[in-house]
Symmetry: C2
Subunit: 251 residues, 2 copies
């Protein structure tokens, strides 16, 4: 276990998109850190402002620009003394250039974290499925970053987005987690049938829904866990050996 | 459902004591809020600084005073624009006068939240069990506040603290949640045998351990949920009807 680093910078977490996903990020960050007592854990500030305008609506339907709200969060985390920013929302990464231009703090990119998670799961570059919001898919967040590195991204068809993925994400945001499992699991399975070797749960609501039912019989890349592991590496801490599985009944 | 209150003050959460308990507080705050989309949820800032010196060591063993670290968190939450403070750590309430003297923001008292939770569970004033850290029990946090209101607090004996309660709390802080269940459940059961009508889980690590095994056959008062309900009331929101139970597999 790493020594306690008094005075080490805090991790800034720009969350609230949605709030359940960012709470889950804090929980997994804690469980995945090798720690024997409170003082061994990573100091963090979570800015959970769910009032950030809807990212998908902004990207594909002319909705309100979320950047000003995102920049308020970045400024708040910087003022709090944070040393890096993690954003447990894939779609918000569509505004990463604007956020990065406004702060000297490094922003841990969730797509890089997802790629590291795929490799950790033993998935070699090749065809993978990518589930996400309609905004994330329309902005080609994963395709643009991963295809140059040897990955091929298979995404749900428009009809599958409308009937399975988008409704599943909305169920999680409305606290109906168990109702989200079936449509999200069905969409993931279809990507595997089409040749994906693994499926990236590229919206942080999706792992919450997928966890609410039986485990899927193929590798899934949880972008909450991936980002938590990237944050632990940034903080110079070790990964927990014992605490990585989630105990039954927690939450 | 309450209308979205753009511009409403954020809830400040002084956490990290421990970090798993404060992450769980954020999760339960979200699940217990009546919401249909991200923007309906309560804006919040979680200041999760696990480096705060150990509260029990300070209270009973001459350890470092935690108040300066607590005040840094309060100042950070106030600077972030929060309108009230919730502290998901019972023992930290031993320094509430010092914290309240340093800020005009109201601090939602966890013992008042626990009392409201007891009443919600249908437990009338009378004998109750109170589990907590050795620090919380030594400072008579619950006894001093509740006995004037008709409650009688039964607490674990010194030997039970040393062999059951304190080790159980330490297991949770070290991410060994399932190992915490047995000693904590045993301590709770002994209080009921001695006449307690319900048991207050008066340390926010304890509900995490108790959730990791079979439900106890008597009312238990979860101080994480109680404080979350108090925060939802402060924010003027309604409680969720559907999302209050925790979905299987979450976290």
């Amino acid at each position: 276990m790493a020594a306690t680093r008094i005075g080490a910078p805090m991790l800034g977490v720009l969350g609230g998109m949605g709030p359940l996903a960012s709470a889950q990020f804090m929980l997994r960050l804690t469980l995945l850190t090798d720690a024997a007592r409170d003082q061994d854990h990573i100091p963090a500030v979570l800015w959970s402002d769910p009032r950030v305008p809807d990212r998908t609506a902004a990207r594909i339907a002319g909705g309100e620009d979320p950047l000003p709200a995102l920049l308020r969060g970045i400024a708040g985390l910087q003022a709090a003394g944070c040393g890096a920013i993690a954003i447990p929302c894939n779609t918000a990464h569509g505004w990463i250039e604007g956020m990065q231009a406004a702060t000297p703090l490094p922003i841990l990119h969730i797509v890089d974290a997802a790629e590291a998670e795929l490799r950790r799961l033993g998935v070699a570059p090749g065809p993978i499925g990518v589930m996400g919001t309609a905004g994330t898919l329309a902005m080609r967040l994963y395709q643009a970053r991963l295809e140059a590195r040897g990955w091929t991204c298979l995404v749900p068809e428009a009809a599958e987005m409308a009937t399975l993925v988008s409704p599943g994400i909305a169920e999680v945001k409305a606290n109906r987690i168990t109702a989200a499992y079936e449509p999200l699991a069905e969409a993931a399975q279809r990507l595997v049938v089409r040749g994906a070797r693994a499926v990236v749960l590229g919206c942080t609501e999706i792992p919450l829904g997928i966890a609410a039912g039986p485990a899927l019989p193929f590798p899934v890349c949880d972008t909450i866990d991936g980002l938590a592991r990237a944050a632990i590496a940034w903080a110079g801490r070790s990964l927990s050996q014992s605490g990585s599985a989630t105990p039954a009944g927690l939450a």
